[in-house]
Structures are given as C-alpha cells and as structure tokens.
C-alpha cells in the first residue's frame, strides 16, 4: 500500500488548495440554493420585475394599472429616476429598474375609445426576461379591462372586475394527487452538484494525480518491483478515499442547507446517485491527469468539461429546452444520467425506481470505461 500511503502524503501538500476549492464551491452551491429558493415555489413566474413608472395621465385607469402591476411585480423607487434618457439609462445600467413604464396623457381616453394599442412606452433592454414578464402582465390587465369597458362598465368597475377575473388560475396536479411545485430545493442542490463536483474533482484531485504522472517519478515507480496494475489500483483507491471525503463535505453542506430533507428515503437515493457520480468525476479526473501534465491547463479543462456537461446535460438549461439532437448527444455524457436520476427521484421516486437505478448503473459503466481509456492513454504515452 506504498502508493496509497504516498497519495495522501502528496494530497496533504495540496491541502490548502483543496480546502480553498471546497470553500469556493460550497459557497457557490449556497448561493445557487438561496437564489433558487427565493424564487420558489412557482419557478420563474414569481420572479419579480422591478419597474419604475411615469404616470402623465393620473387617471383611475392608469392608477389601477399601476397598483395591479405593483402587486404582481416590484415597483422600484422612482424618486431618483427622471424621465430623461441619461437618468433612465443609468437606472437600467445599475439595475435599479428592469423596465420603466411611461403612461402618456390621455391614456384613459384612448383605452375607453379602444385606441390604446401601443400607447404605453416600456423602456427596457430588449429581450430581457424580467421585462417580458411585466409586459405580459400589462397586456393581460389592460385586455381584461378593455373587455369590461366594451361590455359597458364604467372605468372604476372595469378595473376592479378585471383584477378579480385575473385572479382565476387553473388547477394543476400530479397523478398521485400531489401538488405541482417546481423542483424542490433538494433537487436544485444535487442538480448543481453535477457541475460543482466535476469541476472540483478535476481541479483538486487531478493536480495530485499529475504528481504521480511526472515522468521521472513514474519511471522510478515503473522500474521498481511494483506491479503496474497495483500501482494504478492503489492510486484509484486513494482517489476513491478522497472522493468519499469530498462527498462527506458536501453531505455536511447539504444537511446545513436543506435542514432535515436529506434524512429520508428520497435523500438516501440522492446520496447514492451522488456517490455514483463522484466515481464518474474521479474517473474523469484520472483521465485528465493522464492527458496533461501542466497545472495551468487543468483549470481550463475542468471548466470546459464541467460547464459543457452542465449545459448539455440539463443542469443549467432544463432538458425540455434542449433540442432532440442535443439530448441524443447528451446520452453519451455521464452528467446526463446523473441529472436524469435526480429528476426522477424528484418527481416519480416510486414509479421509476427501476430507471433511477439504471441511470446510476450507466454512470458506473461510464466511470469504468473512462478509467480504462485513462490507462490506455497512459500506456500509449509510456510506450
């Protein structure tokens, strides 16, 4: 177990670096959870758009609209923003407001006479998500108000009734009678872990492995009586131990962030899935350490590989947004299976137990394949 022991002696030298990476990634995870749980439980819908208003009409219609928008979105303090280009630009640039709404004089009259199309100015950065939210709220409210106006109601009545009508929502349910919320924060945690873990393992573990890959050192070990297979086996064992320690840290972070949610059958499955994925990440770290001996390249590889998987495998961009062909490609990436397993645990833990375990199995197969490739690369390089 000489190699195994020395692995930890080397790792000890990289202690500071590892702790630093762990801290950074744990704080990133915390930020992810905090920002995503702030917008829970209804996903993007509750994302508030901050808006400022210049009301040059000052009528019942305009004020009712403002009060409706203020309920569904967040009204920014308009006091500092002036209806001047520079001031508005500054407000948008500094994110004091996502959109600035200008209601012109005579707005109510136009609404009554049915000529209100396009009268309100929305000043924003075109195409941003937050501004689209407020625009659709605005259209919904005015459309409903106009409907009531046409039916012969007064403005005062119409705006009240419009608001009541807009409060109607369709009921959505799951087959087993549960409520459809968006992803639970435990899913968010483990989903982002798919990126964090990979990046951490490559930057952290691969740099230790590179030490053993150094030519002089390797030659020495190779010409010793140490069996090549044993050498790699012990290295792998050392990596697995390291992986378990890192997983341990993540479990602690998870317990702190998610409170008790981890102590459930669901949590257990998530943890099992995480362990499978940790094995995959370690195998990738192993492969990367065989490909390059330069430390400065590691970080770039880590980012390309981990961000690439995060984008293509449904971690950063939900799977249903991805095109068919991307999903097909993603089947050949281990992070896809990790994320699929996590998705299924989140929504259909009981019906899809089989496919959850299958996805974990696929990850292990990936890990084995990657390790084999790593060994082949290693042999080729020495040959």
């Amino acid at each position: 177990m000489q190699v195994y022991k020395s692995f930890f002696k080397v790792l000890n030298k990289y202690k500071g670096q590892m702790i630093m990476y762990l801290c950074i990634f744990c704080s990133l995870l915390t930020i992810f959870i905090k920002t995503s749980s702030a917008s829970n439980p209804n996903g993007y819908k509750d994302k508030k758009c901050e808006f400022a208003v210049f009301d040059y009409d000052g009528t019942a219609a305009s004020m009712a609209m403002i009060s409706y928008l203020s309920e569904t979105n967040k009204r920014a303090d308009a006091g500092v923003i002036k209806d001047e280009k520079i001031s508005m630009q500054n407000a948008l640039y500094n994110r004091e407001a996502d959109a600035i709404i200008r209601i012109p004089e005579g707005f109510e009259d136009k609404l009554v006479s049915g000529e209100a199309e396009g009268v309100i100015d929305v000043i924003t950065i075109p195409g941003t998500q937050n501004s689209m939210l407020i625009e659709s709220d605005l259209d919904g409210f005015l459309g409903m108000t106009e409907l009531y106006l046409k039916a012969g109601y007064s403005m005062e009545e119409a705006v009240v009734k419009a608001e009541t009508a807009l409060a109607e929502t369709a009921e959505v349910s799951l087959p087993d009678g549960g409520d459809v919320s968006s992803h639970s924060s435990i899913y968010t945690f483990f989903s982002y872990l798919g990126w964090v873990m990979l990046c951490l393992m490559i930057t952290g573990v691969a740099s230790v492995l590179q030490v053993f890959g150094r030519k002089e050192l390797k030659d020495r070990i190779e010409c010793s009586s140490y069996n090549f297979l044993n050498f790699n086996k012990e290295l792998l064992l050392g990596m697995i131990t390291t992986g378990l320690m890192i997983c341990g840290v993540f479990i602690i972070v998870g317990v702190i962030l998610l409170k008790g949610a981890l102590f459930s059958s669901e949590g257990g499955l998530y943890l099992l899935n995480m362990l499978c994925y940790a094995v995959v990440c370690l195998s990738i770290a192993f492969l990367v350490s065989k490909i390059t001996s330069k430390q400065e390249i590691l970080s770039m590889i880590a980012n390309v590989v981990s961000l690439g998987m995060a984008f293509l495998c449904g971690i950063f961009v939900p799977v249903e947004f991805l095109s068919e062909s991307v999903i097909k490609v993603a089947h050949f990436l281990p992070a896809y299976w990790y994320n699929q397993a996590a998705l299924n645990i989140d929504f259909h833990m009981h019906e899809k137990m089989g496919s959850i375990f299958a996805a974990m199995g696929v990850q292990i197969l990936f890990a084995v394949a990657i390790v084999v490739i790593g060994m082949v690369v290693d042999r080729k390089k020495t040959a």
């Binding site: 630009q89 980012n303 095109s323």
Partner: protein, 381 residues
Amino acid sequence: MFWHNFKNCMKVTLKAKVSIFWTLLFPIALATFMYVSFGNIMDNEEMFKNIDVAVVSSGEEENGLMVVIDALSEGDDKLLNVKEMSEAEAKQALKDEKVTGIIFADDVRLMVNESSANASILESILSSYKQNEYAIKDIMGNLETAPNEADIMAIMSDVMADTSYYTEKSTSDSNQNMYNNYFYAIFAMSCLFAAYSSVGAISNLQANESGKGMRKCISPNSKIVFIVSDFLSLLVLHFLVELIALLYMSTVLGIEFGDKYPAMILTLFVGSMIGLAIGVIVGAIAKLGFGGKIGILTAIGLVLSGMADLFVNGVKRAIELHVPIINKINPAALITDCFYSLNTYDDYTIFIQNIMIMAVESVVLIVIAFMMIRRNKYASI
C-alpha cells in the same frame, strides 16, 4: 532586447501547443455548448410546438375550452397535439410519457408529470381560458337584456383580439437578445484565464522559480523590460485568441452582437490586458510555488466571475446595493458591464469609463508587480 524578448515569448507560447489549444478551445467550446443548448430557445419559432396533450372530456357539456383547444391544434405551427382519451387511457399515456399533460375539459383542470416549460404553457393556456370564461360569464350574467348572438360574437372577438398596449423602447440603438449576456460571460472568463499564461512568464523571470529566471536575472537587463515585453507579447496573442473566438461566435454560430464591433473589440483588448495583469501580480508573489500560484489564480477567477453573475444571477445586484464599489473594481464585472453598457446607453461615456478603470488597474498591477520583483535578491534559490 525588448523585441528580442517579445519575439521569443511569442515563439515559446505558440510552440507550447497544448496551452494554446486549450486557451482557444475554452471560449469556442463553451460558446458552442451554450449555443446548442440555447439554440432552441433563441429560435423562438422552433420552440413550443406540438406539445402532446391528452384531453379528457365527457363531451356532454357545452364547452368553450374545446373551441380554444381546437383552435390551438390547427395548422402547421400548431401549439398543441391533442388526443382525446378516456381518463384511464390518459393516465396511462401520462405515465408512459406519451403526453406532457392531461386536460380535464369539464372542470378545466390540468394534470402533469412534472413541472416543465411545456407544463407551464399548458397551465397558462388554461388559466387564461379560465380568466376569460370568468369575465364573459360575469358580463353575460349582469346584462340587463338577454345576450344576443351579435353581443357574444363581439365580446369573443375582443377576447381573441390579443391587443398589445405597449411599445417597447430601448435606450440604445443596439439590438440584443438576452442570451448574449451568456456569451459576454464567456468572454469575461476567457479574458480572466489569460492570467495563466502570464503567471508562467513571470515565473520564468524569477531566479528562485526557474533556471531560466536565473539566467535572465544575471543578464544586464532591467526586469521591467522583461515584464513589459512578455506582457505585450502575450497581450497580442490573447487578443488574437479573443478575436478568433468573436469571429467564430459571430460567423459560425451566427450570434448577433449588434453593430458595435469596434467597442466590443476594444473591450476584448482591455479585458485581455487586465487578465494578464492579474497573472503578472500573482506571479510576482515570491513565496508561492507555481502550483500555489495557479491555485490562487483559479480561486480569483472563480470568485470574480461569481461576483459578476457569471454562474448565477443576482449576486452582482446584491453587491450593487450594498457595496457598489466592488462592481467598479472587479474586472469580471467591468468586462460584462462594458458589453452591458453598450446595450443600455447610446453614447460611450460609461463604456469609456469602464475601459479606463480596467486600463488603469492593469497598469497599477504591473507597476506593483515590478516593484515586487525589481531588485529581488532571493533569500534562497
């Protein structure tokens, strides 16, 4: 000497093919990944069509929802792909993932497997139907006279009219889409990564880090000449890398960056500058080994990028509210702000201000680095 070292630095960097490969691959690969994964969303017309949905209806009641659903499932670009089923069939289909959701037409209810974008679309169709239904019933119920055909038709056509009441106005003349921010983030990160190459160059300048550094130290040349010529040489290379990445994104991927290319290119130039300068200052810290320096650079890169919203949105805003000065210093934030200011402003005041800050920061960092290693006699080699 200056040009001699400049050329040599360029030659050595170019010949280290693996490093150049990854430096170039980084922005290109990431942009490609993002492009293919966002491709669907960016191309709105391709998106959101043919959502498979099962409709369960008793068929007895007069139901306006069926009219709406039928309207949405007609034509080439139909939004919905409807199959009428019995409840049991529908639930089986949902379980087998043949359909995204089940619409129960009688009580306007939706059942889905999981929360997803398509489920949200179905939900919003139903919600908006319910709102209109409520309004129409409300209006009909309160009519003094019995509703006649013409009134109903008028109201229905109003509902269907889908008027837009606003005009969107931009404060600048650029035409951007929201996903550009992600590509700007790639540029910011790849600029910060330039630090890896300059940290190597500075290590090659210090006698306690490399034999080459020893040779340079005993040569009759000031270190500032080495620093500046290495720096400029790497700047040229990294600027080229960024330009190639920009060219790739705009031509091969076809991303619309608007027409402010000169300003973008200037941003990339100054961005490479600040990235390299960070590498120079970290490289100049005498006590650290090369591995430690790389570790610190990675940490700096991740932290700065994180604070500039490159991973998750909202951090930068929080900083703006509490300690706005950080956003004015953080190079990653400055690079993205440069791009952002091009979208917000129609003049270049703020843009130039950001560029100036970065330029000044770069110079300050290099000067400090020079002071640190200028006459460095080493305690041990």
